[in-house]
């Protein structure tokens, strides 16, 4: 098996191109962390903290909690990195931990009856509002709309949708992260897209212009 990599480029000669963290492959970084290289773990954090915090935020819809859970994710990752399967992609593995951490937190919230009430009228009434053309939607409004629509999806659909649409994971990677079968994954993704479309369509106008 041959690896097609960016090795053949002298990236350092390219101004601003893939400087810093990208010069280290994830596999190398994992190996270095296992050998006790603390800086390598810092590079892993730098590379993946943003997608991880974004993913967790999509799951829990709470910024402060997302920060706490991101911290917990990387602490668990550090403690478990020596047991990581060499064949597993680092991003997939981290998302898997993040998903577990987020799920535990959501369940704890449900137990404490402090969870976000997804039946909140303000969320479900989205599609009853007057439609606004997408061109006139301010990005903040669009962000709020997507965020609130995302919160209405059930947990399984939300995780699949987030990983596919926002993090561009392949079906195989999503299956690895969630443990879902391919059939369930496809079904959840299709339904999640349909639900999101139903909520966003009134805002985007009938038949989005291309």
């Amino acid at each position: 098996m041959k690896r097609l990599a960016l090795d053949e480029l002298n990236l350092e000669a390219q101004p601003g191109a893939f400087a810093g963290t990208l010069m280290n492959s994830s596999r190398d970084l994992v190996a270095r962390v296992c050998q006790g290289d603390q800086e390598a773990f810092r590079l892993i954090f730098d590379r993946y903290s943003r997608p991880v915090i974004g993913f967790i935020y999509d799951m829990v819809s709470d910024r402060d909690l997302a920060e706490e859970l991101t911290q917990e994710t990387f602490v668990r990752a550090y403690r478990g990195i020596r047991g990581m399967n060499a064949e597993t992609k680092l991003s997939t593995w981290l998302f898997g931990i993040a998903r577990n951490v987020a799920r535990e937190s959501l369940r704890a919230r449900v137990r404490a009856n402090r969870h976000v009430d997804l039946e909140d009228k303000s969320v479900l009434d989205l599609s009853d509002n007057e439609p606004v053309p997408v061109e006139r939607l301010l990005s903040k409004e669009l962000n709020d709309l997507i965020c609130r629509s995302l919160a209405t999806l059930d947990e399984d659909k939300r995780v699949v949708f987030t990983l596919k649409v926002f993090h561009h994971c392949s079906y195989e990677e999503i299956a690895d992260i969630t443990g879902f079968s391919l059939a369930k994954l496809k079904s959840d993704l299709h339904r999640a897209r349909a639900e999101m479309r139903r909520r966003i369509k009134p805002y985007a106008g009938v038949g989005y212009e291309v």
């Binding site: 041959k2 963290t21 810092r42 991101t70 649409v165 989005y208």
Partner: protein
């Protein structure tokens, strides 16, 4: 292929998850069927809207330090923890409810000594005797509030705040101070400001990707090539490309739009490769990159000034 079959597989096709044969059938059908083609366009617009989603979420600069506290031994602690300095630091490490008697006694003794010294340095003024009465314990008590604010911002004094209790977000980090992640391979880079700077950065990354494909050496004996990294990168760039191309079109930046449109088929093809692509497929893309001289075109974009884009 019929429309029902096409529509059923359309999402998977756009996700790049179909086998080569099915993908070819869908592609052929889309050329001939206006209805299915319109559906594909709708899904593409939807995807574009989602790609603009920005959580306005930053990674607080202090998050790493909180992680490091519990994982790697603190890398950023310049204060020596040996000998006397460690002892002093331990006094300031509050709140620590496990205060030992010895530490408490030492504190009281030091407070008294400092208090006495303070009294001797002050010349008693007859009218202010009561006001000048020293209160040794409060003067030296190492309450956290007495750590000057300026010190908290100093890396050298970070221990005083970093170790004073439980580890979970004791310090509310400044949301605006973030780790510079401009070169991080992140799938959700912000799309709020789709401007020339974003386009230039995108084109630079695309150029590097295509250059790596162009420069790959495919030997005759090769059967498979692992392109999983390049594929993932291409998927991200593809989504960016769609957004930026439409943005350029709306702003009447036609040379940029044209360049991005030229790049898109290549990105789609790379994104649709399996993780372990057949050598001949990679070779075919490589040849197209060479033949179209797209890398040179991308370089040309970077060389042009913003006014000529």
């Amino acid at each position: 292929m019929k429309c029902e079959g096409c529509l059923e597989l359309l999402e998977e096709y756009l996700d790049g998850e179909l086998a080569e044969r099915e993908a070819s059938e869908i592609a052929a059908h889309l050329i001939t069927c206006a209805a299915c083609s319109a559906e594909r366009a709708t899904l593409a617009v939807e995807q574009e809207m989602f790609s603009r989603y920005d959580r306005e979420l930053e990674v607080p600069a202090l998050l790493w330090e909180q992680v490091a506290e519990q994982t790697v031994s603190p890398l950023s602690k310049p204060v020596s923890q040996n000998g006397f300095s460690a002892l002093v630091a331990s006094w300031f490490r509050v709140p620590s409810f496990g205060f030992s008697l010895a530490t408490a006694a030492a504190l009281i003794v030091i407070a008294l000594v400092i208090g006495m010294a303070y009294m001797r340095t002050q010349k008693p003024e007859p009218n202010k005797v009561l006001a000048e009465t020293p209160r040794p314990i409060t003067v030296t008590s190492p309450e956290p509030k007495q750590v000057p604010k300026g010190d908290q911002a100093e890396p050298g004094n970070r221990d005083f705040v970093a170790n004073n209790g439980s580890s979970a977000r004791r310090l509310r980090p400044n949301r605006h101070s973030t780790i510079d992640q401009s070169d991080v391979l992140s799938s959700d880079l912000g799309y709020l400001d789709v401007d020339d700077q974003d386009t230039a950065k995108h084109i630079e990354q695309t150029q590097n990707l295509l250059r790596s494909i162009r420069n790959v050496s495919v030997a005759d004996g090769d059967e498979e090539i692992d392109v999983s990294y390049d594929k993932a990168l291409s998927r991200r760039l593809l989504n960016e490309n769609i957004v930026l191309r439409r943005d350029a079109e709306m702003k009447a930046k036609f040379p940029t739009k044209s360049l991005l449109a030229d790049v898109e088929p290549l990105l789609i093809d790379i994104a649709n490769l399996p993780d372990r692509a057949r050598a001949e497929d990679v070779r075919e893309i490589k040849e197209r990159v060479q033949k179209t001289e797209i890398v040179a075109a991308l370089m040309g974009y970077q060389d042009r000034g913003p006014n000529n884009r």
